[in-house]
Symmetry: C2
Subunit: 687 residues, 2 copies
């Protein structure tokens, strides 16, 4: 099977790299940009539309406010980009918002950011895929007619790809992202040329529609509130900006500077595209309504429930290139693909954050291990399940989902920037070099402004979106926070319980002698091997033990034992009720009762088989006995495996599993570098 | 929780017996009769109705054949009872049909009987509960209006009771069974008195109905076929007769004679009740139709789909006692209760047969252990699932389910009786005492007649019922047969693979030295205990091993190791990709490569926690590592458990599990006796 799927995989994403060569795959800026920017750049596919949607509530006249809202979004984008450029320089380890908040504001702030980010990853998948389906649907109507089904199909596809460990490559991201960016720029340029130079009037498919305002003639506070809500929606364009700050180690040297440059480049591209699309939408007369079925009027009549409201970007493309033309279809496909790639970044980020949280004991420790397929699988399945749930509940409607989206982003923006202010404060306390101090003060000012601005936006988002769905995101955050606190508490309690006492001579750890028992049911190779191994261990006392559940079998066992002259005494326990576990446990306890300082070593021969159904047929008594023995103090339990021929299949499967590639490797950069940087950063933080 | 449920349990079924006192609970005949006869006696609640149903196809005039069919059923019942009295004497071990067929006709016949019995148990549950719900419904219409739901609710209730291990007691069976038997006899006597002495005309609720025959004026072969089909349906009265032959060890001494007497008593009661109910049905003018909705005519009109056709026994009770009277309700309740008890016997028989089959390696070996809750649970859940499936598919319609029922019974009757003929033949070859020989020849004649008669009935049942549903039962048997053969084949293959070679000096079993490795992640109590135990084992080489997934932690570990002066060398493995399993496996392999005759002992400290969710938080790396190590040749894996405080809860749960009572204990009799008898029987068979 592997052979068959390898060929298309290689064609798609290039020859897989051996993991020890991972260190060589550092990203040049031209590849880093698409790798990290697919999420923020793709948001321009839905953010402009959301602004128009909200404004339409006050009627089409409110569309005139859209340039001002665009300006506000641009200012915010510049603020956030400038702030994160400071993060990138201060935390070249790729710490990310969680680490920044955790280090500078304490564990509660860190956990809050982590909860916000986890919710955010789920929403990135749900929103990006829903929007991708809507964009694809403007070219292929079938997709949008079966919207929920299509969205879930894409989630399943991404999940399977990531579970199988398809190794990403920079190229996979580069081609659609550059096609998308180029397409949007060509569209903007060609639209501007047509309007300004040729003087043509572009007409969007909805140019002749009218909008029935839900609230005619809004003014005063109500209008301000509506504009703030439109601004909140436009802030969707900022989602994903923080991704680069996690990925500094993946950049070529000078890492921090390259990352900062890429960040600036990304911000510049995003705002240009955002503003360009809004401008074209205004010029071509795009009409969008929150309730299109009743509020969009065509020829004096509401368009009705059958009407599909296409995304702004596709309406603009229809106006500029013409509906269904080659350019139109290419742009729609590239838009959808970039949105799906954006969703894929959450598949990388979610388990990565999980592994960092596991390191801090907020999540099960085994998630910490990098490249551990099982750990990643759990994260991926959890993410996909939650995203599918949301897609199902909100019927893959990106507009509804976006109401939930922005809270988490701005929680982490605000806390991260506040943390950065503290970071500079701490460093300024010790730093004496005036040039460095000047730079730090400047950075602190930028971060302080960023924290204030994003904090304000958070308040605005909460105020305007809470009843529209933001409460769901908050609830999700509270749940993550609660579970992670509980896990941490459990680990702390266990750590206190098992911490080694300082004075030596702890009785429980130092029994005086070992009494070994080999469990025997028949004389066969596994038994002989277990007896052989047990003899090698030279314990103080060694005996073989069998439970008499069938007198005839026991008699045969005893005869065979003597015939072979096995020089280990064979003890038979009676079991009138044909139990195995209880007599053994009682015997072990009786040994401990007689010699409380003895340790008992129970040695169990085990078959190793290859298939799960074979497992059902073997070792069940042994497994249950082992389970019970673990609760008996002063006992150690040894399995002596005997590999049956069929176990080869299972061995191959296990090996294949261990060669699995964890997703997100490219974005994360090589591990040793990461570790190196992190240690430096931690040392820096401790200064 | 245990405390709360114990009180009603004690009230219901008496104080639970300690299992070592089980030997004292031998059954007197007056208790043995209800314990074993609830299944065959309860069948008179549906068998007479099935006869009338089939006859109604030829119109109400065909009802006149019903006494002849009753006679045929009575003759068959006497034959079967007489035959099984021979089994009871020949196999006082309670061998049952499987053992008789297996011993005398070979493993294929045995497996066929076993498959038939397993299918039969499933159908006993489905049929008895469906019929019980119908009977209860004649008093409480709600139940029959929600028939499938009620039937499934009863199955769930029985399943939960049996999973929890409610200990049956003879009294539990005695009261409803005797109430039922007494009720039916009072009904027959009172009905006869009314009709014969008082000269009243009893009228069943359906007395004035007419039946539209599906085939008017059947004659010749078609009529014979219909009568045979009616006879086949009447044979449902024989299901469960073989139960006593499994339960001889549970009787008081003289066991075999008491069992034989009980068997005769049961046969006598069953045929009297069967004939009495048919006679009352004739006298009171009961009308039943296979398709009541269209074929039952009331006042010239079909009764329609809303009509609920009550069972014969309840229609007769309505005629004799009057609908809704005290006696009517008591009889309906007792009938339903006896039918539910009959279903419960399958819950005991199914896992018991499973444990015997497991002993012969047709089912996973762990099912063999008596009183093993897990093994019984699997059997109970399988049984309940299959029965629920059938109830769902056949809409809890006892008439439809009975079409499937009788095949299995007669397969095992026929093979068992044929086996008995062989049994006597073999004994006659060596027996010299003329008195004993005479008895044996008589027994052989009875069994030969029984085999011929039941074989004929089997052919009749197959011919008349195959297309009506018997094929489903056959398919079920084939499936059980196939799975059990495959399991046996697997065990045989493994046994051949692991059988110990006769010449000593097998290299694989005798490594020369042991290299022990204690896995260490931190210095805490579990680690210290593991190191302490490892030292006691005095292996040839001992070292502690840690995987460096985090340089800072590793540094701290090394410092602590030195500070404490632990005199075991600490080896650190590098793991640039933060894996744990792979470096350890490779290291173990490298040891084996350098010294192929060394065995490697890997010692893993483990926490023992109390709750499943705590399990998720601990030992996962250890578990996975153990899983992989089992596939590595020349390795033994030792767990050194460290019991955390929370493990107490799990220990209590495990202890409670081990004190669980397996269902069916009363019917089976005490084990040691059983074993004793069985050995004698086997020795007898070997003579």
């Amino acid at each position: 099977m592997s052979k068959l799927t390898d060929v298309p995989k290689r064609i798609l994403i290039g020859r897989a790299l051996r993991s020890d060569r991972l260190g060589e795959t550092l990203l040049p800026k031209r590849i880093a940009l698409p790798v990290f920017a697919s999420d923020p750049l793709s948001s321009v596919a839905y953010a402009p539309g959301e602004v128009l949607l909200v404004l339409s509530i006050a009627g089409v006249s409110a569309y005139h406010f859209s340039p001002w809202i665009a300006v506000a979004v641009v200012v915010l984008m510049f603020t956030v980009v400038a702030s994160y450029r400071q993060n990138v320089h201060a935390y070249p380890s790729g710490g990310g918002d969680y680490e920044v908040a955790n280090t500078n504001l304490g564990p509660r702030a860190g956990l809050t950011v982590a909860s916000a980010l986890l919710v955010d990853y789920v929403l990135t998948v749900a929103v990006s895929i829903s929007s991708g389906v809507e964009n694809l649907g403007s070219a292929i109507p079938f997709v949008v007619e079966h919207k929920v089904f299509s969205a879930i199909a894409v989630i399943v596809l991404l999940t399977v790809m990531n579970l199988r460990g398809v190794r990403e490559s920079g190229k996979l991201f580069a081609i659609p992202t550059y096609v998308f960016v180029a397409g949007v720029f060509i569209m903007i340029a060609w639209g501007a040329f047509q309007t300004l130079v040729l003087g043509d009037t572009m007409k969007a498919p909805t140019a002749d529609f009218e909008i029935k305002p839900e609230h005619q003639g809004l003014a005063g506070f109500a209008l301000v509130f509506l504009l703030l809500r439109a601004f909140s929606s436009g802030c969707a364009a900022l989602t994903g900006v923080e991704a680069i700050s996690n990925g500094v180690p993946a950049f070529r040297k000078p890492k921090s500077r390259n990352a900062a440059t890429t960040l600036a480049l990304m911000g510049g591209l995003a705002v240009t595209m955002f503003c360009g699309i809004i401008a074209l939408a205004m010029a071509s007369g795009v009409k969008m309504a929150e309730q299109p079925a009743t509020d969009l009027i065509r020829d004096g009549q509401a368009v009705g429930a059958d009407y599909v409201q296409n995304p702004v970007i596709s309406q603009v493309a229809a106006a500029v290139f013409g509906q269904g033309t080659f350019f139109f279809v290419v742009l729609a496909a590239a838009t959808a693909l970039v949105l799906f790639l954006a969703a894929n970044t959450a598949y990388n980020g979610f388990p990565l954050l999980g592994s960092i949280l596991a390191q801090d004991r907020y999540l099960p420790r085994q998630l910490h291990t990098r490249g551990d397929r099982l750990a990643f699988s759990n994260g991926i399945v959890l993410l996909a399940g939650a995203a599918m749930l949301l897609v199902g509940i909100y019927e893959a409607d990106s507009t509804k989902l976006i109401q939930l989206y922005i809270v988490g982003v701005f929680v982490s923006f605000t806390l991260s920037q506040t943390g950065m202010v503290r970071h500079w404060n701490r460093h300024l306390r010790t730093e004496r070099d005036p040039a460095v101090r000047r730079r730090m003060v400047r950075s602190r000012a930028i971060n302080a402004f960023g924290a204030t601005f994003t904090g304000l936006v958070l308040v605005v988002v909460l105020a305007t979106k809470f009843t529209h769905g933001a409460w769901v995101a908050l609830l999700g955050m509270v749940m993550f926070y609660g579970v992670m606190s509980a896990i941490r508490k459990h680990y702390d309690r266990v750590a206190a319980e098992i911490s080694a006492p300082d004075e030596p001579g702890d009785e429980t750890a130092r029994p005086s002698r070992v009494h070994s028992i080999v469990l025997v049911s028949k004389v066969h190779r596994p038994t002989l091997r277990a007896v052989g191994y047990a003899k090698l261990m030279r314990s103080d006392k060694l005996e073989a033990l069998s439970v008499n559940v069938d007198p005839a079998e026991t008699k045969a066992l005893r005869a065979e034992w003597e015939r072979r002259g096995i020089n280990v005494p064979l003890k038979i326990l009676d079991s009138p009720y044909r139990e195995i576990t209880r007599p053994v446990i009682e015997y072990v306890k009786s040994i401990r009762r007689e010699n409380p300082r003895d340790a008992v070593s129970v040695i169990i021969p085990e078959y190793v088989v290859g298939h799960w159904y074979e497992h059902l047929l073997h070792n069940q008594s042994a497994l249950r006995l082992k389970g019970r023995l673990l609760f008996t103090p002063g006992v150690m339990v040894t399995s002596v495996p005997y590999q049956l021929q069929s176990s080869e299949a299972a061995k191959r499967r296990a090996k294949k599993r261990s060669e699995w590639n964890a997703p997100g490797a490219v974005r994360r950069g090589p591990v040793d570098q990461r570790h190196h940087h992190k240690e430096r950063a931690q040392q820096g933080a401790k200064d």
